[in-house]
């Protein structure tokens, strides 16, 4: 089997795996009630933007469009399609491995090109109709977006490879993104007018890309890191749909030895009942899992943004949805914590388990939901909202938690 054939097989396996996951989540009801209507509305809106730019575009600075354009164009990863079993079966064949890496990268770059084109197509009516960009300005900016997208994603790989801490990793990642967006803003506003700048800029970015790709092929000792990342990419849809359930937590190359929060196993509260201690351990477990905290932050952030942007009646619907989402997240997280394999090694005190479940469901739901309620109050016309929403939200939340607790009690193992 040649490396190209191997890549074709792996890409198609990968696609099948993701499609299977998507099919599990997106049944006909989701298509019928959400996706198809959303698609039709989007197409109608898109067509109308070609005729007349939306009014809100007057409040958006032209330069700001580079941010969504950049984010859309870089929404892919540099993949090499290696698998764990390759250490036994193909790692001895250096040519095959190098070939697989090369084709994998070519495939990734092509995917990056398609995404860049798609992103440009999405913002094109704003650029042409809204800000009167000419074809030359669009094409030159597009070329730079494509080169930035390629370079940034190869660079992201090296950052991920060299920096273990997920918190420290954000610093160079942010820097790369900010610098790239800065370059794109400059190109789209001023740079595109100078032919010399365009040629030199494109040449430099191409040289940088070739140098990075060359180093990517030559760098040794990345096999286990690549395998770990590939596993993440392959299960990205599962992860998105089912939180971290689908991601194997097997041993990886870079394993954190000490927790990054609450080191030394210190208790959060020195005194407290047994259920308080269980809940404290649950809080530690959750706060040390950034992926889980991220969901609470996302619901809070998007909820607040939607409440400020949407009409009055929809604000209340968003509020109800936020409560539903927070309680659902809390319930799922507690279930994952209390039903984990380690928790099956001994017999829980059932009363303690129920009390802990009740407390745990409030820990994250309460601050997040009350914050969303307060923000709804602020967005509501008049002072009454400041009183009505936090108070009403509190009562509704306590009622919902009581209902969920009844459910947890009836479904918990005896």
């Amino acid at each position: 089997m040649t490396s190209f054939q191997l890549l074709k097989k792996r890409v198609s396996d990968d696609r099948r795996y993701k499609l299977r996951d998507l099919r599990t989540a997106l049944d006909w009801t989701v298509w019928f009630y959400i996706l198809i209507p959303a698609l039709i509305v989007s197409v109608v809106y898109y067509q109308s933007w070609w005729i007349m730019a939306p009014e809100w575009l007057n409040f958006v600075p032209e330069q700001a469009m580079m941010v969504p354009l950049f984010l859309g164009a870089t929404w892919w990863s540099l993949r090499v399609y290696l698998e764990e079993a390759d250490q036994v079966y193909i790692l001895q064949n250096q040519n095959l491995v190098d070939g697989l890496k090369k084709w994998g990268m070519v495939h990734s770059l092509l995917k990056g090109s398609v995404l860049t084109l798609f992103s440009i197509a999405v913002v094109l009516p704003f650029l042409i109709t809204g800000w009167n960009w000419g074809m030359e300005q669009v094409v030159i900016t597009g070329i730079f977006v494509l080169l930035a997208s390629w370079n940034v994603n190869v660079c992201r790989y090296f950052i991920d490879l060299t920096i273990q801490s997920i918190w420290i990793k954000w610093i160079p990642l942010m820097m790369v993104n900010v610098v790239s967006i800065g370059i794109l803003v400059f190109v789209s506003q001023v740079g595109w007018k100078s032919r010399e700048f365009v040629f030199v800029g494109v040449a430099l970015l191409l040289v940088l890309l070739i140098a990075q790709l060359y180093y990517r092929i030559k760098v040794k000792g990345t096999f286990f890191h690549d395998v770990m990342m590939e596993r993440g990419y392959k299960q990205s849809v599962t992860n998105l749909l089912m939180k971290q359930v689908g991601v194997s937590s097997g041993r990886t190359v870079l394993v954190r030895k000490k927790p990054f929060l609450f080191k030394g196993s210190k208790r959060l509260r020195k005194q407290g009942s047994p259920e308080t201690r269980i809940v404290d351990l649950y809080v530690k477990w959750l706060l040390r899992s950034p992926g889980k905290v991220q969901y609470y932050l996302q619901v809070t952030g998007w909820g607040i943004a939607a409440i400020f942007l949407l009409p009055l009646v929809v604000k209340v619907i968003v509020l109800l949805f936020a409560l539903y989402a927070f309680i659902g997240l809390s319930k799922a997280d507690w279930h994952e914590f209390s039903e984990r394999s380690y928790a099956q090694l001994f017999q829980w005190d059932q009363q303690l388990r129920e009390l802990s479940a009740k407390k745990a469901s409030k820990v994250f739901t309460m601050p997040c939901f009350i914050l969303v309620c307060v923000m709804t109050g602020v967005a509501f016309p008049g002072w009454i909202g400041m009183l009505l929403f936090p108070l009403g939200g509190w009562v509704m939340m306590m009622g919902s938690i009581r209902m969920v607790h009844q459910d947890v009690r009836s479904s918990s193992p005896q």
């Binding site: 937590s249 041993r251 394993v255 954190r256 030895k257 000490k258 927790p259 080191k263 030394g264 196993s265 208790r267 047994p274 201690r277 269980i278 351990l281 530690k284 477990w285 040390r288 899992s289 914590f337 984990r340 394999s341 380690y342 928790a343 099956q344 090694l345 001994f346 017999q347 829980w348 005190d349 303690l352 388990r353 193992p413």
Partner: protein, 233 residues
């Protein structure tokens, strides 16, 4: 202490992995659960622990007997430290603070894990992980230990330490149900054995009883198991 009478159990409906298994574990007794790969030992243990959905029969713990389970593959929370795992286990079964902390410290010293007590077990070696499983179980001082292949990943010294602790616990009155492939060790430490073959109970008894049954007066446990399995086929 433990009475098991499983009519059938399996991972899917209408697909039984084990059928008609019955045995008991008495206080202070060590019962060895033997059988080849895929015979149904782990399924039996999972059924006893209540982890199987599809099963018929009865599993009863006498009185308020509490168990602790030591799995074949160590299991952990990715983001809790060794000490926090022990704290969770002790709190979940309502142990008093002073008692479990003292016992935990003692066991951590015994298994020489003092230097990693505030580390995440997911970073440990296989043997260290297995030791954490042992510490969790021994710290809880249960009435019954359910142990699945305890010797995998343990070095000879740790194996010896583990066996010493098991003897101590048996002297306290704890019962032990242990599934293992290591027959020479099982021969030395187990009081009785249950042999499972293709999901059914091929034999049950002491080594002397099995020697008599197989006609191998001086045979080892391995010899007897071999002969009994041949007879089953």
């Amino acid at each position: 202490m433990l009475n098991v009478a499983i009519e059938e159990a399996g991972y899917e409906k209408n697909s039984q992995t084990i059928t008609d298994l019955s045995f008991s574990v008495k206080s202070g007794e060590l019962l060895g659960l033997l059988g080849s790969n895929g015979a149904g030992k782990s399924t039996t243990i999972k059924t006893i622990l209540g982890l199987m959905k599809e099963w018929k029969g009865s599993v009863t713990f006498e009185g308020d007997a509490r168990y602790a389970y030591i799995p074949e593959q160590p299991v952990f929370y990715d983001s809790l430290t060794l000490w926090e795992h022990l704290e969770l286990a002790a709190t979940a079964v309502s142990l008093q603070d002073g008692d479990w902390e003292e016992r935990a410290q003692e066991l951590i010293r015994y298994f020489k894990l003092g230097h990693v007590v505030h580390d995440l077990p997911s970073s440990f070696s296989k043997g260290m992980k297995q030791k954490v499983m042992l510490i969790t179980a021994f710290m809880l001082k249960p009435d019954l230990y359910i142990i699945d292949e305890p010797f995998l990943g343990l070095d000879p010294r740790a194996t010896k330490d583990f066996l010493k602790l098991i003897e101590k616990e048996r002297a306290r009155g704890a019962g032990v149900l242990m599934s293992t492939h290591v027959l020479d060790t099982a021969e030395r430490i187990c009081d009785r054995f249950v042999l499972i073959s293709s999901g059914i109970m091929a034999a049950e008894g002491t080594l002397d009883e099995w020697r008599e049954r197989t006609g191998m007066e001086t045979g080892t446990l391995l010899d007897c198991v071999d002969r009994l399995l041949e007879q089953t086929i």
